[in-house]
Amino acid sequence: MKLVGAALIIFTAYLMGCQVCALYQRRVRYLEEIIMGLELFRAEVNYGLTPLPQAFQNIGKKFKNPVGSLFVDFSLSLLQGKGLSALECWRAVLEKRSSELALKDEQMEILERLGSTWGQGDKDGQRKQISLIQELLKHALEGARNERQKNDKLWKYLGLLGGVTVVLFLI
């Protein structure tokens, strides 16, 4: 009986460690998806035909939540016709989705910066601005990947060891 209890405690602690790892993995995935979404938008700008709200409606459908809903929410708030600027809409949507995105502050800051580029300037200008933000995001993605690698094993071991420690105490 004691043995089963100990195994349960160790297993639970291990799972908790995995949970923390998943956060790092999610961050990487979200950043990858956002970069990909921006790439799709850049293609739309190239053809110069689809207006921003429609473009993000289409792009949003291609991704899972929360990135998909981030894009779709953005397009819906633009289409609401309340007269808000693209920057205001983007900020509001980011704030609403920030807890789900679980990005670090500096990563969120890059995303916030995107707000002031939407719909500004001609084709060339828009393309350049998107590329610039993409660069920053790629940099952030690199960091997130390193972190994931570093923390992946660390947290799993920590969970395991934590569980063992608790068990030793209890025995």
């Binding site: 700008v45 709200p53 828009q126």
Partner: protein, 332 residues
């Protein structure tokens, strides 16, 4: 009759910055019903204009002088442009190059600012500091008075016609209504609907928004939006089999060649040109050539003497015989 049903509150206000929207929304109905233009200029008073009048607007409605009027901020203009372009200046470059944007309802927004050139032609307008929102009002029935003069009852066809008037004289309005009448057909005159093709280089006739006509141009009408006239006419002839082609403001060499082509292909041409008299037109080489070759069988002169679209005179093209004159009080 002016179509007062155009609801500025519903059609224009969603495209204005919140502050401007609040001002325009609270204007009395009588004022909105006659408003033709809303002028937005950076750090200058907000102004609305109508035929023969204008009014400065303050935060609580019309005011007496520019001193009390609401001065537009850069933010107001920026927000308005953002809304008008649907947050996508990159998608409207071609239109901006022409100096305007079209919004749903066919309303046109003229733009001014700093022009960026590329190889000597306009690439884009940046730092937009002035915007003129022109409210498109369809004047249904504008062509009913003119139309009977344009039908060849003997052969049951419509004459090649040229509509001549000074700017703001109602040319485009007349063309649009003629398109509607010809396309839908008028039973009374025994005129069945005909296939009409509109080559709308400046998106003024049909007021297209993303290619869809926003004004009534008839059931059997195809519109080539933002298409250069000469190429558009040839394209129409090749693929859309129109019986009547309608286009505005002709005057370039290639327009003349395309019109010749259409006339010889048995398609009726109805076009317009700037000018206030036959002499004006005869001074322009291309139009003079077209008239001398007798391509146009009817010339319709408009003016804005008694409001836009005042019918001045209709003459028969070949011999110059007057068929209608406002001076003598009507039909001759």
């Amino acid at each position: 009759m002016l179509d007062a049903s155009i609801d500025i509150k519903k059609q224009i206000c969603p495209f204005l910055a919140p502050k401007l929207r609040a001002i325009i929304e609270h204007l009395p109905y009588e004022l909105l019903a006659k408003t033709e233009e809303i002028r937005l200029r950076f750090s200058r008073p907000l102004l609305i204009c109508w035929a023969g009048g204008e009014s400065y607007l303050g935060e609580d409605g019309p005011v007496a002088g520019p001193g009390e009027a609401y001065l537009l901020s850069g933010e107001d203009l920026r927000q308005t442009i953002e809304l008008i372009s649907s947050y996508s200046l990159y998608a409207c470059e071609d239109e901006i190059r022409q100096g305007y944007l079209t919004i749903p309802g066919g309303h046109r927004v003229g733009l001014a600012g700093r022009v960026v050139l590329e190889k000597g032609t306009i690439k884009v307008i940046r730092d937009i500091n002035s915007c003129n929102i022109r409210i498109a009002r369809q004047v249904t029935g504008a062509g009913e008075r003119v139309f009977p003069f344009l039908i060849d009852r003997r052969l049951g066809r419509i004459f090649h016609s040229l509509i001549i008037s000074p700017p703001q004289g109602g040319k485009t309005t007349l063309l649009r209504d003629l398109a509607r009448i010809i396309s839908d057909g008028i039973g009374v005159l025994g005129q069945r609907g005909q296939k009409v093709g509109i080559v709308d280089e400046r998106s003024e006739i049909a007021g297209c928004y993303r290619g869809v006509p926003q004004l009534d141009v008839g059931l059997r009408t195809d519109v080539l939006d933002a298409c250069p006239k000469a190429e558009g006419i040839m394209l129409m002839l090749r693929s859309l089999s129109p019986q009547v082609i309608i286009t505005d403001e002709i005057g370039r060499e290639e327009d003349a060649r395309a019109i010749e082509e259409a006339v010889h292909a048995g398609v009726t041409i109805i076009a317009s040109a700037h000018g206030s008299s036959l002499e004006d037109i005869m001074h322009r080489p291309i139009l003079r050539e077209l008239l001398e070759k007798n391509y146009f069988e009817r010339l319709v002169f408009l003016s804005n003497k008694r409001g836009p679209g005042t019918l001045e005179m209709i003459i028969e093209g070949e011999r110059g015989l007057p068929l209608y004159s406002a001076n003598t009080g009507g039909e001759l």
